[in-house]
Symmetry: C2
């Protein structure tokens, strides 16, 4: 989509707005993480089942590294929604999250390498999965939240939609060297502006 | 501030982020509108007491009409925060809100003409106030919420920050002719993107 098309026919983001509201309702009525992840998984699967609602500026790969674009952050930072964009050959470092998270593949595929950290600090590989378009994965400190994620496509960008139980770009967490040595990091976000999902007068 | 300066030194929006979070905390712990308006007034007065946090793209006047820029909308649409920008000579129609609202003047001044609607539909003028920089006004269906707001300056734009107890751009409400004849309207917003307030890694 070129810039002129984007101005003429902006993407209808109402599906994303509906997801935000449904997720906020869910979080308001349950404190149980397992129940939340199960219901949240259903909502996210529904969101990524169609690829017609993400404005192209939040799906733009960078030649140097994967991008993390904030799409919505809750007023009390109880949850955030981000799009991750991997160019060909790009991957995250091994990292943790510290909070629950859900990952749904919108476009392309992702390779997920899972790790377990031993009490002494060493990392044990737990296996590798391929997440395909429309599939949803979950992480949390309870069920395991250390992984490395790579673009599953060698020839094109992949895009996934992530939800976390905090303002993830502001959470102090860790990356890990192959031997398990942790290094503190705060990811931030690639974007200074986020989509206005709330103008119901534009697209009903 | 020109575009190059804006790119080099982006505005630190952390004061607005703190306001969002404080307001969400307030709304989470009180259902009483009067208590909410009183505490919200204190928070908003603190926000507009300094004019160093609003990115210039949300303070831009339009030559033809006043602008309403969304700055934040709550995940469950329980409240929204907008900047209103009036060019010289610009004013709103006479309108209602249907929900509680707080108005704080950030820059310049506003003239507020208040009206009461009779059971038969006619409008009675209730007087005119000037709101100056740093001052905060409240509206609600309970205390009166029909008014017309105009730029209080003849020679420069004025900017105010409004908070409402809903996603105000999506609320079906009314404008009124001088004789009280109502006309349904949904205001929408002037902006397709809103500021990313949540990147604490950029400005602590
Ligand atoms: Fe991750
Ligand atoms: Fe008003
Ligand atoms: Mg597809």
């Amino acid at each position: 989509m070129n810039a002129v098309t984007a101005i003429d026919r902006p993407v209808d983001t109402s599906r994303l707005r509906g997801f935000v509201t449904a997720l906020a309702d869910l979080i308001a009525c349950t404190r149980d993480e397992q129940a939340l992840l199960e219901s949240g998984r259903t909502l996210l699967a529904r969101l990524v089942a169609r690829d017609d609602w993400l404005p192209p500026e939040y799906a733009r790969p960078d030649p140097d590294r994967y991008q993390q674009y904030l799409l919505h952050c809750d007023s009390r930072e109880r949850f955030s929604i981000v799009s991750f964009v991997w160019g060909p050959g790009q991957s995250t470092p091994i990292h943790d999250h510290g909070v629950w998270g859900l990952v749904g593949v919108l476009r392309g595929s992702e390779q997920v390498e899972r790790f377990h950290r031993l009490p002494g600090g060493g990392l044990v590989a737990q296996g590798t999965d391929i997440l395909r378009e429309g599939e949803v994965d979950a992480v949390s400190p309870r069920i395991g939240d250390i992984h490395r994620v790579s673009n599953g496509r060698a020839d094109a960008p992949s895009v996934s939609i992530h939800v976390y139980g905090a303002n993830i770009g502001a959470v102090e967490r860790a990356t890990f060297a192959a031997d398990g040595t942790p290094k503190s990091f705060i990811s931030g976000y690639a974007n200074r502006v986020i989509p206005n999902l709330w103008d119901r007068s534009r697209n009903a």
